[in-house]
Symmetry: C2
Subunit: 324 residues, 2 copies
């Protein structure tokens, strides 16, 4: 090989290395400027969607006067009627009815009876029972498991908030032990971020000396109405930056959230779509129901306090993950 | 310029680019293989330190049979005597004594009186009061703020666990509202990861209609002894992978932690260093005390169950951040 051939090989090698470096740089640059995928594809354009996006942009932009430091990014979600279908009857109420004999009418009556019936049951037995029920129970209208009936737009909202540093919590009137069984798999929310109506447990030992937690009758937290901010104080210890609900039971949680300084987002889901889901109020002339009431007084407070009402009919393009 | 000169410039440019690329690569490689800084510099070599390091390595190595997925990496820490100095009297007991008139002897008596005295106080007022007290109170021996008397080896342990994906919790017999005031600044532990003895709050409105949470007498959780696993169930909803304590009040938390499947770490701090801190038991012939008792029965259970005892005298090279 002559010197000039060697030099040619050397040039080729150098040129190849440089070209590869430049290509990698260009690819990285193109990736950085290409628009990100829409995080909320199941939401129609409108005030609800705009309210979410501008809240997230402002609270995560360090240059914004409405910036919220990561450790204060707490978002709380009611479950029944906000994250999943609550009609014609709360899923957990059906679970309890199948376990408690006799005729009961109100949710409060039912919960009292359930607490008595479940008292003395090892927590692990209760959890296995819930798991078993969820695997077999079907919603009467869609004939699907209840866990398939979560709202796709809210699932996207949960992920969008988490991708922006928000810690997402469920704050439900339902049973804390019940919801914790499936919240991680269904919503990506770990048990320590599920707050609900909670009974006491008692620490003891089984016959082999192994520690066991047993359910007790004593109610520690009724996580409805004023119980929601009280539960948030007990379990989180700071005021949420954003809160989402759908009924009068969420009123105090939204008030408490909005009363904080700086940027705060409060939203209510209005079920106004009988064709794709259910229509119930009694606000705005919608039929009244005993499940998840959205009253005219709640609607008025939303207007006064700047809470955003999400219309399922208008704001959600798609309801469930199985919708096409 | 002749062609050969141009070629020489071209070669120099190419050579420069390649050299820079290679240098960057070598630097990155060297960084990857150089040993990381010691995460536990205040710990002496020994069984305690080895126990921590091998637990963390095994539970974070996806190839290990003792691997623990990130969402299950929960570590719970007692506070008084485990994270900070509890002698000659629990810091919070001093805070309460300065607020509650009359002579009281036991911690239980004191807490009952405190609950009555504080009842009806807005939560924000209580927090401001704690902040003010912490800023001015001094420990009688070191003449420093109580928040300066946290154990440096435990601070390193908290950071080491968090750097390895563990969520660190305080599970204290002390007041939840009290510890939450400073835990984030002092330990890097946010309020939602502080579990303690907790009183109820009541949601209401001030004269301007603004929401207010007010402290109530009713105790929701006595976070001592069996109350620790019960509190962990209430606030976290899953069993810790690692737990750290120093007295009989931590026994059930360590039992509950160790009774889980797979890798579990349980450790007890033994105060056996009168020169640098305090020496108290009554285990191992150390003097008895009413504050943070480490009994012979606890010592026996530690041996039977494979809990690791940390000797302050032997295992800690340095106690406080101000030690040289």
């Amino acid at each position: 090989m002559t010197l000039s051939r060697r030099r040619r090989w050397f040039l080729l090698l150098l040129g190849g290395l440089v070209a590869a470096t430049l290509l990698a740089g260009v690819a990285g640059w193109a990736g950085a400027i290409s628009p990100p995928a829409d995080p909320l594809p199941s939401w129609n354009p409108g005030a609800a969607r705009d309210g979410i996006v501008s809240f997230v942009r402002q609270t995560t932009d360090p240059g914004s006067p409405r910036y919220v430091p990561p450790e204060e990014r707490i978002a709380t979600f009611d479950q029944d009627g906000t994250l999943w279908v609550e009609q014609p009857v709360y899923p957990q109420v059906r679970f309890i009815r199948e376990r408690v004999p006799g005729v009961v009418t109100t949710r409060a009556e039912l919960e009292k009876l359930a607490a008595t019936a479940l008292s003395g049951m090892p927590l692990e037995t209760f959890r296995a029972d819930v798991r078993q029920w969820l695997a077999t129970a079907r919603h009467p209208r869609w004939q699907r498991p209840y866990t398939a009936l979560t709202y796709q737009p809210m699932q996207e909202l949960l992920r969008y908030l988490r991708a922006n540093g928000y810690k997402t919590y469920i704050v439900t009137g339902g049973g804390q032990d019940f919801v914790r069984v499936y919240a991680e798999e269904v919503y990506g929310i770990p048990p320590e971020q599920v707050i609900g109506s909670a009974g006491a447990t008692r620490y003891g030992y089984d016959t082999t000396g192994r520690p066991v937690l047993t359910k007790e009758r004593r109610l520690l937290l009724n996580d409805n109405d004023a119980g929601k901010p009280e539960g948030i104080q007990l379990m989180i210890g700071r005021r949420p930056t954003a809160a989402f609900g759908n009924s009068t039971g969420d009123r105090q949680m939204l008030e408490y959230t909005k009363a904080g300084d700086g940027a705060r987002l409060a939203m209510l889901v209005l079920h106004d779509d009988a064709r794709r889901e259910y229509a119930y109020g009694p606000a705005r002339g919608l039929p009244d129901t005993q499940v998840g009431r959205f009253t005219p007084a709640l609607d008025d407070e939303a207007t006064r306090q700047g809470w955003i009402v999400i219309s399922i009919k208008n704001d959600w393009r798609r309801l469930f993950s199985f919708d096409r």
